[in-house]
Amino acid sequence: MGNLVFDIAHLLAGLQVLVSFLLLYQDRLGALIRVFALQAVLLALSVAWQAYAQDAPHLYVTAAIALIFKVLIIPVALDRMVVRLGIHRQVETVVSVGPTMLAGIGLVGLSLVVMLRVTAGEADALAREDLAFALSVVLLGLLMMITRRNAVSQIIGFMSLENGLILAAAGARGMPLVVEISVAFSVLIAFIVIGSFVFRIRERFDTVDVDALERFRGGRG
Amino acid sequence: MGLTGGLLIQSAQMALVLALAPLLTGVVRKAKARLQRRQGASVLQPYRDLARLFRKEAVLAENASPLFRAAPYVIFAATWVAAALVPTFATGLVFSWTADLIVITALLASARFFLALAGMDVGTSFGGIGSSREMMISSLAEPAMLMLVFTLALVARSTQLSTVAQVMLTSGVGLRVSLALALVALVMVAVAENGRIPIDNPSTHLELTMVHEAMVLEYSGPHLAMIELAGQLKLVLYLSLIGCVFVPWGLAPAGASVLALAAGVLAWAAKMAVGALLLALFETSIAKMRVFRVPDFLGAALMLGLLGTLLLFVSRSL
């Protein structure tokens, strides 16, 4: 029975890393939002599975939050924002997709080397596996943020980074405050979306291109 | 002999130096005239000039300040004290330990300091020319002189002039390269300090070329006499300095008998005469240098002095 638990958790975490790569691959905003929703579903499943494996009821709450918030509310809000603000659909990248994917692979390799060599000690295999994949998702999320020009794609990059964190938190057996942390992060993301919506980032600048934000630095120094 | 004897010899030296100074200048002028196939004024002419100047009234410029009137006396006093400290016919004078060779150089420097200031006091451009050039010449001549002092001090292991003369006289220093360099440097500095031909023409009236004369242009009457006498004293000082250091024979040792003193005076007089003739010969055989050639000339003197010192440092024998 033990290794089944381990296998499923391992599978779900691996899938999440794969979806992160998918996120890097997308070049249209609509598809990007839907792939993110997919990653959120996988996150909810793995957290629920961890809850079942560690029979820690509070993790179910985290899974529920992830499911409702990140699969339904945020994607819909982003979709409407894209429509309302008339942001053009094309995802502008700084570096073309090929090199980004290679960089992604390098990052995953790095996190595996760092994590597995590090925890060669007595920590149990499950925690080690989860951490390695969580670190990969975090690094890939960060990579996405720095290689995309649209503010929306940056938000999604940040949210996938946050998914990695929740995966890691869930993986740590018996870690307190997981729920509070996921709630804090949800509030944070809500702030981002509402903020960019309310401040009408779109209205102040013709595109939501993060570089456009810079043009108004003007003479200040 | 005791203190009174010492005092007697010291005052005798001061009187002797003062008395013979105009005579020396007269001899030099006479020798130059004869070399230039001229009759030339008599040897005693400088005395008559001084007497004439003493009796004439002093004409002062309207702009002349009290410094202008006091300067001649200070210049004469400083030069006279310096000349009195250089052993002429006897070493080991009673006041010889009050000052050494560096102090004598500095006394001459203070004389020059006040002469330059007096030159600038009246506020004419010629006074400015004289002072400016005098200061340029002195800024090289004085270090050369001090280098000389270093060389002599290293040979005689003392800067006291009477001790240096004593060492030269007694310990048989013998011929040394550094001393030869020092002699040449001393001659060059003496020529520069006294304003003789290659550096400055004492008898010139061409304003643009003169240095010493430009500073004393405004002086007249007794003030001019004082300054002329100071110039002559300086010539005696340098010649007796060369004499007592490089040609020390005939110097009466401290506390010698009257006979030895007389011999000393004779030897000194002979040395002065020879020096005067050599100076006259040197002056007639060379033309005056352009003003901005003087730094190279004096630079050479400084290098010779420094070389002499360094050679001495290298080995005792050189």
Partner: protein, 477 residues
């Protein structure tokens, strides 16, 4: 209800009340009252600290920062009361936003106090998270596009930093879990520091890297401090003072907690060199960047980066004297930098602009304000009567003795910073005065209170404070 509970209750209650009070004049006074009450409560807590519980830990280190925090929040609220009058008059802050401002001021105070007091790493993370959010909103309060752009940049960088810090916290828990068992204990700092020797060194190193980068972003270490100049310059000046003076210290306190944790582990990566590298890099970069600044508040923001770099460098070197110098510098910098911002706020309002070219000849146009600013900037530059001179003296002497190359690098960067500030100060204080934008009431009370403390500490450090600093320095290891 323990004292500490009360200490946390005051700001949170005040925040709620201030959110509801429509009249901003009353709100300003309430704000001052609440800050005064919390300061007195801090003094009470620090006098007889409660035992270290699962949630609360009061020891030598955080009592210093707590007292500093309480005092400067109180004096800043005094300055804010005076500052807000001008802002309301000129209409730059309409009443609604003033209400939000006062409420968020107290929330920020609450978050900082919570971060300092808590024993639980998770709670500390949450507290700093709340502080980040409130700062984002307050920085963007003026609604100018520079303010929004500064807020957005701060938000993005802050969030990434917080995320990294969270990952570090999780790693600490995972490392502690086999030794300490599941549940709450994995996050209690005092428990962890006792048992850290048994943890897996690799995990601890990784946790330290993430926590250093996470909280380092909040401390403003190079290459993570791009947000700091804009955030400090665009927000209202009282907030800039709190940010520069206190929030940076709180983040540094968190980094110190983590450093103590890692230093306790024998064969883990020594934290010293990492801190020294980051500190020196911040020192050098800020020292060089000061020369080209054209905005007065950005100038002093970069000066904050420089001084935070100096403190991190001091703690990186370790040893009783360097730690003592670091802690002393933390106190002196908080007091001096906030006094500078009080004076700069008034000067910017007097001249109607924050550009250095518009603020000249202050000692002639506003003598008292001008000379107060000169005294404050002289103090931050390390001039003798001020305490900063003592801490820099101790640091430079102890550094050069042990690591000559670093000592020289430290001296050169201090000289660079000194030169830049001297040049800019001469421009501000001397020369022909620039036209005034209108009368301004300057809050001299807080400025002179801070400067008096700094100048007294520079000459004679009271033994009680000196002993407290020495014990905390010893604890830092």
């Amino acid at each position: 209800m323990s004292l500490v509970g009360l200490l946390l209750a005051i700001p949170s209650a005040a925040a709620l009340v201030l959110a509801l009070v429509p009249d901003w004049r009353l709100a300003a006074r309430l704000n001052v009252g609440a800050s005064a009450a919390s300061f007195l409560m801090v003094l009470a807590v620090v006098r007889d600290p409660p035992a270290a519980g699962p949630l609360v830990l009061i020891d030598g280190l955080n009592s210093i920062v707590l007292v500093l925090n309480g005092f400067v929040v109180f004096t800043t609220s005094l300055f804010s009361a005076r500052y807000v009058v001008h802002e309301a008059a000129t209409g730059r802050l309409p009443p609604l936003r003033l209400r939000l401002y006062h409420a968020l001021y107290q929330v920020l105070a609450f978050a900082m106090t919570l971060a300092l007091v808590t024993n639980n790493l998770g709670v500390m993370w949450v507290a700093i998270e709340i502080a980040t959010l409130t700062t984002v909103v307050v920085v963007g309060l003026y609604r100018t596009h520079e303010a929004i752009e500064a807020a957005w940049k701060y938000f993005m960088l802050g969030s990434v930093g917080i995320a990294l810090a969270l990952f570090g916290t999780i790693l600490v828990y995972v490392a502690a879990q086999p030794v300490v068992g599941e549940g709450q204990d994995g996050m209690i700092w005092s428990v962890l520091v006792g048992k850290v020797a048994a943890f897996d060194p690799g995990l601890i190193n990784l946790a330290f890297v993430f926590l250093l980068l996470g909280y380092g972003t909040k401390v403003g270490l190079t290459p993570l401090n791009a947000w700091l100049p804009d955030a400090h310059a665009e927000g209202p000046t009282p907030v800039s003072a709190v940010l520069s003076g206190l929030l940076l210290n709180v983040a540094l306190y968190a980094v110190l907690r983590v450093k103590m944790l890692v230093a306790a582990h024998p064969d883990a990566l020594a934290p010293g060199p990492l801190l020294m590298a980051a500190g020196l890099a911040s020192l050098l970069l800020a020292g060089v960047m000061l020369y080209r600044r054209r905005d007065i508040k950005r100038l002093f923001a970069y000066s904050s980066i420089e001084h935070m770099g100096l403190m991190v460098f001091a703690f990186g070197i370790g040893g009783p004297i360097a730690n003592f110098a670091g802690l002393l510098h933390m106190a002196m910098h908080a007091l001096t930098k906030s006094a500078i911002y009080f004076a700069v706020g008034a000067a910017a309002q007097a001249k109607g602009s924050q550009r250095l070219s518009d603020i000249t000849g202050l000692t002639q146009s506003h003598p008292a304000l001008g000379w107060a600013l000169v005294a404050a900037v002289a103090a931050i530059m390390g001039m003798p009567p001020a305490g900063v001179f003592m801490s820099e003296f101790l640091l430079v002497t102890s550094t050069f003795a042990r690591m000559p190359a670093l000592g020289v690098a430290l001296a050169v960067s201090l000289l660079l910073g000194f030169g830049a500030l001297a040049g800019k100060l001469a421009g501000i204080a001397f020369g022909t005065p620039s036209p005034d934008a209108g009368p301004v009431k300057v809050a001299y009370g807080p400025i002179f209170a801070h400067l008096a403390l700094v100048f007294v500490a520079g000459v004679w450090l009271p033994p009680a404070i000196a002993d407290a600093l020495r014990q905390a320095a010893a604890a830092l290891g």
